[in-house]
Symmetry: C2
Subunit: 207 residues, 2 copies
């Protein structure tokens, strides 16, 4: 199945998914694009357009089946895969991510931690042992890691990305503020916290 879905749509699906979960907990079985849009500050037209990309889920005159739509989005996003993460760089941010509970609720789990600092190798974070970066290839294979999370300083990030790719991860989630080069078949998502903070600064400076 090779359908082209815009990144804008893909980025809204997790919001729909999260809201549908909450709505389901409220024992609501059917929801309209209007109500979903109201909860998310997204126009109902936008929501219908996004959902129509994947087929016809709704019932005219009625709305969408909450449970069915939730499951469908979960599958579109591939969350049923229960991806396994390895975090490289167990500093403050890496450590926080190792403890981040919201991942688990999306089906992700932290399978391994790596650091190059001999002082923390062997310690545990959230009951997960910190391994030496030297053992990355062996352990990533053994632990069936799917996603490499990069939380090292910018000047070490490309090297870590290369190690992760060589070790066979299927995707990379990068928190280092630098451009990474990876093979085209490896999905890469950058989380650059300085962009959002700088944008906030910009808007606060206007007027």
């Amino acid at each position: 199945m090779k359908k082209i879905i815009s990144q804008a749509t893909i980025d809204r699906l997790p919001l729909y998914f999260r809201t549908l979960r909450l709505v389901e907990e409220e024992s609501i079985n059917i929801i309209s694009s209007d109500e979903l849009g109201r909860r998310l500050d997204i126009t109902p037209e936008q929501i219908r357009k996004d959902l129509a990309t994947f087929g016809q889920f709704g019932r005219k005159g009625i709305g969408y089946d909450v449970h069915e739509l939730k499951e469908k989005i979960e599958n579109i996003l591939g969350l049923q895969n229960k991806w396994r993460l390895a975090i490289v760089g167990v500093g403050h941010l890496g450590g926080a991510l190792a403890n981040y509970v919201n991942f688990a609720s999306l089906g992700f789990s932290v399978a391994a931690l790596f650091d190059k600092n001999k002082k923390i190798v062997g310690s545990e974070v959230n009951n997960i042992k910190v391994n030496s970066i030297d053992d990355i290839k062996k352990i990533i294979a053994k632990k069936s890691v799917d996603i490499g999370v990069i939380t090292v300083p910018a000047d070490e990030a490309q090297n870590v990305a290369d190690l992760l790719v060589a070790a066979g991860v299927k995707g990379i989630w990068n928190f280092a503020p630098t451009k990474l080069t990876v093979p085209p078949f490896i999905p890469l998502v950058n989380e650059d916290l300085s962009i959002g903070l700088s944008a906030l600064s910009y808007h606060m400076s206007q007027e």
Copy 2:
């Protein structure tokens, strides 16, 4: 000065800024849109278009003065304001942000920490005392806090946002995975980590 600049352009400025800093450290005085684009995987046309929004900085046939352009972007983004942050919710993520060194290099500083948990109020994180959320109004005024950072669970986030606005912050940086409602004159930036991670899952599931 009330000029409309697209969010897409605003989000690229921090990348230009960061790269210009690195280039300046390499003692390079002049850079072309071509070279800047090469370093960031952005087309030179896009860069020239973005920069032209603010005036004419470059010299035809030559390129851009690295130092001058860097300073100009710093000012456009308002980073010279040296904004002061208050982090509300000193869990793993809040604690990591309190220690995040990359903010300091952009001129931001952490002026205060807040939590509702009596057990950690009074302790210190990165040499900054954790205050009770009950004292938020008084301390935000005293410490001249500009930006409120929300790192509490989703179901407490709106309440914290309301407290921050009432306390007089000028902007909000939200890490809680939920939609917040704030007055229109308060810039709000959401950092929703589950979006990027879900998008990664989507791309890894294709083919």
